[in-house]
Amino acid sequence: MSAAMNFMRGEPDKRDRMLVTPEGLALPLTVGSRGARAGALMLDIIFIVLGIIVFFIVMGLLGFSLIDVGESGGAGPIAEFLIILVILFLFLARYGYFLWFELGPRGATPGKRLLGLRVAARDGGQLTAEMVIARNLVRDVEVFLPLFFLLGGGEDQGVAGLAAFIWLAIFVLFPFFNKDALRAGDVVAGTWVVEAKAAKLKEAMSLAPDRSRDYQFGEAELSVYGEHELQVLETVLRQDQPEALRDVAEAITGKIGWRLGQGDEREFLEAFYAALRAHLESGMRFGKRKRDKFS
């Protein structure tokens, strides 16, 4: 559920934050959940590994068997160039991938983008290149060292291995000990990861034929419901599922004491939605808001 909806209903999510733009407009932000961030990281690592695999396949297809070059010793200039390429590619895969994508206009790696996340400056100001560099340098201790540690069987090294494990675990678990899910790199750089989903503009609701003459609702019938119910009704109408329409129409007619003919549900609900929204919005203009049916 979006931050705005929760905010309006007065039941703020633990991850909702308010950001005030220079225009003085309060803009709700939602801090990315730890699960989504872990998922994004895993996706990114998968992309990196896939990229490395593809890179080596391409190298193989080019006809230069790197292993042969290593064994024969007498590397020609082309083979030498290829080895340099491999070293630089592996280096860039480790340090360059995150840096490159987070410096882009979306402020997100492909994994973050897929999960609707982006990096932002915590103080609401600009996200600068230095911040992105700082948060990604610390990533080395937070992600890659633990990863190599696990892959390399570092846990077999007795006391030193255990110490290293605890030490790395502090970094890995860091996001679980603060409310903004900041990792150590975020703290150093002054950044955080927030949700950045794009929404599509849907059809206006009151373009349906005006039926206010066929269905006329009185003050008492419209004051049964509040904004929350109106927005639930909006969702139901937009989804347009016959059974859901049927159920909701029955619930409403039951509540206001109407009887409805078969097949008129959508018409009735559209008319009721328009009337209820007009009623609630006119209340809003006079500063009266009704959050839900209980208020």
């Binding site: 979006s2 705005a4 909806m5 220079p22 225009e23 407009l25 803009l27 932000l29 590397a75 030498e80 160039f81 080895i83 340099i84 070293i87 630089l88 280096f91 340090y95 410096l103 882009g104 206009p105 979306r106 402020g107 915590r122 600009q126 600068t128 290149a129 230095e130 911040m131 560099i133 700082a134 340098l137 610390v138 080395d140 201790v141 937070e142 060292l145 970094f171 150093v188 750089a189 002054g190 950045a196 989903k197 794009a198 929404a199 503009l201 849907k202 206006a204 609701m205 009151s206 373009l207 005006d210 206010s212 109106l230 927005q231 328009a274 929204r277 007009a278 919005e281 809003m284 203009r285």
Partner: protein, 349 residues
């Protein structure tokens, strides 16, 4: 994403505005062309293709942004259309990220970085650099003294693979040979690239470990320098002290300088964490982190230079004097650059 390929460029004007029965829907229909125009501009910016935006749109961007922001403010107070509110909120947020996003591109940043950003950041952490330098000198002396007292320490400090014949009591000829050059330039590029990759990893770790109050950084510096001290003793014992120093200085002044700066940057962050001063710990760490990041970006460049010097110059140039000359020149150049380059006065604060 795929849909935008087929999306028409023109924005369709909304259906008959008068047909809408609700006032808040009329409000929306009257303004949605502007919103969608902003949406298109923001999408193009997000995709990194600002060239697709027409001049007209670009000139209107600030106006469109303010209009949409004020639409959102009005809609919050007058409309109960949840999907429109969600759309506007997402749109204003995206536009805000683009408009208040980084204003300098990569090359602009690079220019600012070389013309003062880097050297300024280095001058700002002078105290940490002094500490790092002292620690490195101490580490070298410790390594030297340990091996001088008991040669078994050498094997404890230096990993077997790295020593490669350079052990205490090795014949002078063997040691001399390791300092000589290996002939032609074949394979030196690979050597330089792998040195760069390896050294940068060490430098980044020295920085990243600074997060824990800088203590692991100090340990890393001491260990690496003790290794150097031990090696120095071995060569000095064989009467090759000066030759070894010359051999090392070719790239060492640059490489050890970079590692010193990386350690200092890590320590700067760690020290700020321990002593944030009169600011909150988070904001103090942020400014320290951003300053340290500039130093670190510079370290990468220094390590590229060091890798090239180590891979090519050291292997191709023979003779103690010439090697000292290269190393000394690099040291002077770096020092002058860091001390002399001041950032030009910022036109916009």
């Amino acid at each position: 994403m795929a849909l935008s390929l087929f999306r028409k460029n023109e924005i369709e004007p909304p259906a008959d505005i008068e047909a809408a029965s609700l006032r808040s829907d009329k409000f929306r229909l009257e303004r949605e062309v502007d919103w969608q125009r902003l949406d298109q501009i923001v999408t193009a910016l997000e995709k990194g293709r600002p060239k697709r935006i027409s001049d007209d749109d670009l000139l209107n961007l600030p106006v469109l942004y303010r209009k949409t922001a004020s639409s959102l403010a009005v809609a919050r107070e007058t409309s109960l259309d949840a999907s429109t509110l969600d759309y506007l909120e997402a749109l204003v947020r995206r536009a805000w990220f683009q408009i208040y996003g980084p204003r300098v591109g990569f090359f602009g940043w690079l220019k600012r970085f070389f013309l003062g950003g880097w050297s300024g950041a280095i001058r700002a952490i002078w105290l940490d650099i002094c500490i790092a330098f002292a620690v490195m000198v101490a580490g070298t002396i410790v390594g030297w003294l340990l091996v001088a007292r008991d040669q078994e320490w050498f094997y404890a400090l230096v990993p077997g693979g790295m020593a490669g014949g350079r052990v205490p009591g090795a014949p002078r000829e063997v040691l001399e040979e390791t300092l000589g050059h290996q002939g032609g330039a074949d394979g030196l590029g690979v050597f330089a690239a792998s040195l760069f990759s390896n050294n940068t990893g060490v430098a980044i770790m020295a920085f990243a470990l600074g997060f824990a109050f800088g203590i692991p950084t100090l340990l890393l510096l001491v260990y690496n320098m003790a290794l150097l001290g031990a090696m120095l003793w071995v060569f000095d014992d064989a009467g090759l002290g000066t030759e070894f120093a010359a051999w090392l200085s070719v790239h060492g002044t640059t490489e050890l300088g970079a590692i010193m700066l990386a350690g200092a940057a890590g320590m700067h962050v760690g020290r700020t964490m321990a002593f944030p001063g009169d600011r909150s710990i988070l904001s103090a760490m942020q400014s320290a982190g951003v300053r340290a990041a500039q130093v670190m970006a510079g370290c990468t460049i220094m390590l590229i230079v060091a890798g090239l010097l180590e891979g090519y110059a050291r292997q191709l140039v023979d003779g103690t004097g010439a090697r000292f000359a290269i190393g000394g020149t690099m040291l002077v150049l770096w020092t002058l650059y860091f001390l002399a380059v001041r950032s030009p006065k910022e036109r916009e604060a």
